[in-house]
Amino acid sequence: MKIQLRPLFGVFTLLVLITGVFYPLTVTGFAQLLFPYQANGSLISVNGQVVGSELIGQDFSGPQYFGGRPSATSVHPYNAYDQASLTGSAGSNLGPLSKELVKKVEERIKLLKTFDPNNENLIPIDLVTSSASGLDPNISVSAAYYQVPRIARERGLDESTLLSLVDQYTETRQFGILGEPRVNVLLINLALDGIKIK
């Protein structure tokens, strides 16, 4: 049995150069050339100021906005990255039989009811359970409908105007089959404020 050191270090070095230098740089080059918007974070700017990424959810706690999924990130909800505490995306990891989970869901239901005491509809489950990433940009279509009466009252708008806005901002299944129908919370809220991105 004879082990040669030259192939060992030679092959390793060459493969590191190919997969660790050539590969990421090639992909970056093509990505920046072909899909610069996506490659740089799908950022939305209003009057030259970045107001978020189309793909990363934000915290909307004001009752005049559509609220998103509860977020389990530390420091504050929808914390995508915090330099000081070195925290970012996170799920709750609470198990199905967790008392803590039950308590949180009850609190969220209570909070929704506080702003909308006359709404007798059942609350869609995604509005009271936290997302996997803590950054979920979407809510289900029924979760958007559920919030319409509150927002109509807060903003003095017709419910029908808001319902058609929800329909306009509903993303259907991709290619008619993949994923679940959903509403992008940031985009529809920008539209509420009169800012059209799409």
Binding site: I3, A31, G95, D136, L178
Partner: protein, 573 residues
């Protein structure tokens, strides 16, 4: 649950199966050194590399040389990654100025990526510099996958060799795996993912204003990085290590249902196609289809169980004024919903990939049992690239042997008589992960350092620990992520478990290949049990499930099974 959601399962499996033959036959040509449509570009690079590195490509290795070369190559990879992680704070491409990585965490992470486990004790965006991700983790994603593929090819050489003690050349198998298979597929997938919204940039994080400042939070920091290039190979190489903390649940890793579809496809693509490559190389494609059929049947059944369990919703909430038609949405993303989360969870567990698009710790007890059990079956249902199929072939040896005993004939597979030596090696391959998982779990649960960082109370806490050792002890990498694992105790014990699961299997695999190669190939006779019939497929499934069930039922009863019963009784923790 509506029919459109369910329909995504047959579409996914259908597209996967369509790709098996074209990719499988391409890979067979690559490994047999035949010309392919990429040869005009790649063959000169391959020859150049072999020449520069001084590889004598026509010199074949014995199993011992092959095994030692694999181990040394992986050792070099380990030290390179370990040092890169330890010194990242002094190196370039660290725009967020992330600090040093502790020796225990660097050890765990280097082992994790070299062994194709990609267990993550750290959170990507807050721990790893862009350089550590691209030059460290991403490189090992390629090299660990290629190592698995090379070992599989050596085993196939053993099965097809005729009275020889040579298993081919590791360097040639390794370089071909990277240049002809992993690299071109990764470039294509990475760009498709970018088109869907996965980021690929070396710029620092962006600070954005928030739209609703009611809560007092006025800005959001949006992390960037070379994510697409890493995610493409993390899926294709069944690695699974995420660029960000929440892995493929992060909108920048997996932004749309289509990116989700592509990533799920990439997870099983090479393991599935390798069954065809295997059939082609042993000269009987029926042998490959039979293995693929056994894998697909187990997978489909298990996915259906997960989807049903997760779409139920949580009985604890039924008394509240909520509409649970969305299913169990705690720890899931709206764009994927229950169906895509459940398919992914089962697929990632069965394939030793370990990336997640959902938080498994928040799954229903039955929904969480499935991924755990798929891992415990030994990562042979598709399994890792290369490693899944070589593990499956160990199960085939056992199935053939037991069947041979039953009818009183000498067991043989593909014309090779299965002797005592092969059986010993196959049993080692099946038992080592079982022992690693059960002993590891026992040690952690009897030590205060092991139980100190359990997150959920009750049987779920037990499941967190069992899942951690199942994952490390089978090189999977997914987790019930509530468990706090970035501690010295878990970094070291899980690191050791990952080393066992990888190298204590590769050596007996190659030993088995070496002994098979020396045997003559006897032509099939009337007494030969055909290994491509429906009967054999059913028998193989039975052997896998019986071994898996017998080894782990007692442990599973203490975790997810008792928890399912307690959920029925309305018990909370």
């Amino acid at each position: 649950m509506n029919i459109m959601s369910w329909l995504q399962l047959p579409i996914y499996i259908g597209v996967l199966l369509i790709l098996v033959k074209p990719l499988g036959s391409y890979m067979a040509r690559v490994y047999q050194g035949e010309r392919t449509f990429l040869s005009p570009v790649i063959a000169p690079i391959e020859r150049f590399m072999l020449k520069i590195a001084g590889v004598k490509s026509n010199v074949e290795m014995t199993w011992k040389t092959y095994a030692l070369t694999v181990l040394l190559f992986n050792l070099v990879g380990f030290f390179f990654l370990y040092l890169l992680l330890r010194f990242q704070q002094f190196l370039p491409l660290n725009p967020q100025a992330l600090g040093s990585i502790s020796p225990q965490l660097a050890f765990n992470t280097a082992v994790s990526f070299v062994t194709n486990t990609n267990w993550q004790s750290y959170s990507g965006e807050t721990t790893m510099s862009y350089l550590s991700q691209a030059l460290g983790l991403s490189v090992q994603n390629f090299l660990s996958a290629a190592t698995g593929m090379a070992v599989l090819i050596a085993l196939i050489q053993g099965l097809t060799g005729h009275s020889t003690n040579r298993l081919g050349n590791f360097w040639v198998d390794l370089i071909r795996s990277v240049l002809y298979i992993l690299l071109p597929l990764s470039i294509i997938l990475a760009l498709l993912l970018v088109a869907q919204g996965v980021v690929q940039s070396f710029q620092p994080a962006i600070i954005s204003q928030t739209v609703d400042q009611t809560s007092g939070v006025v800005s959001q920091t949006i992390p960037l990085g070379p994510a697409a290039s890493q995610i493409a190979i993390k899926q294709l190489g069944t690695n699974g290590g995420g660029f960000y903390n929440v892995n493929s649940a992060h909108p920048f890793e997996n932004p749309t249902p289509f990116s989700n579809f592509l990533e799920m496809l990439a997870i099983l693509l090479i393991p599935a196609a390798l069954t065809y490559t295997f059939g082609k190389m042993v000269g009987d494609t029926r042998q490959g289809w039979a293995l693929l059929a056994a894998m697909t049947i187990i997978l489909m059944l298990m996915i259906s169980v997960t989807i049903s369990a997760e779409s139920q919703g949580n009985p604890v909430f039924t008394s509240m004024s909520v509409d649970q038609s969305g299913g169990n949405m705690e720890g899931k993303e709206v764009r994927f919903g229950v169906v895509n989360s459940s398919i992914w969870a089962t697929v990632t567990a069965s394939s030793s990939n370990g990336s997640v698009n959902t938080m498994l710790d928040s799954f229903s007890p039955l929904g969480g049992l499935v991924p755990m059990w798929m891992i415990l079956l030994g990562e042979v249902v598709f399994g890792g690239v290369g490693s899944g199929l070589y593990g499956m072939l160990a199960f085939v040896v056992i199935a053939v042997f037991v069947a041979g005993l039953m009818v009183g004939r000498t067991p043989e597979y593909l014309g090779k008589k299965i002797g005592i030596h092969e059986m010993k090696m196959a049993v080692l391959i099946v038992l080592i992960p079982v022992i690693t998982v059960l002993f590891g779990t026992a040690i952690a649960l009897t030590s205060s350092r092991g139980t100190a960082t359990i997150f959920n109370a009750g049987p779920q806490g037990f499941s967190e620990v069992l899942y951690a050792f199942a994952s490390a002890g089978n090189n999977n990498g997914s987790a019930f992520a509530g468990l706090g694992v970035n501690t010295d105790f878990y970094n070291i014990t899980l690191g050791i478990a990952m080393l066992f699961a990888r190298y204590a299997l590769i050596v007996p695999i190659l030993a088995m290949a070496g002994s098979l190669a020396q045997k003559k190939i006897v032509p099939a006779s009337s007494g030969t049990m055909p290994t491509y019939t429906l009967l054999f497929i059913g028998w193989l499934i039975g052997v896998i499930i019986i071994v898996g069930a017998l080894s782990f039922l007692p442990a599973l009863a203490l975790g997810p099974i008792v928890q399912q019963l307690m959920m029925g009784a309305g018990r909370l923790f």
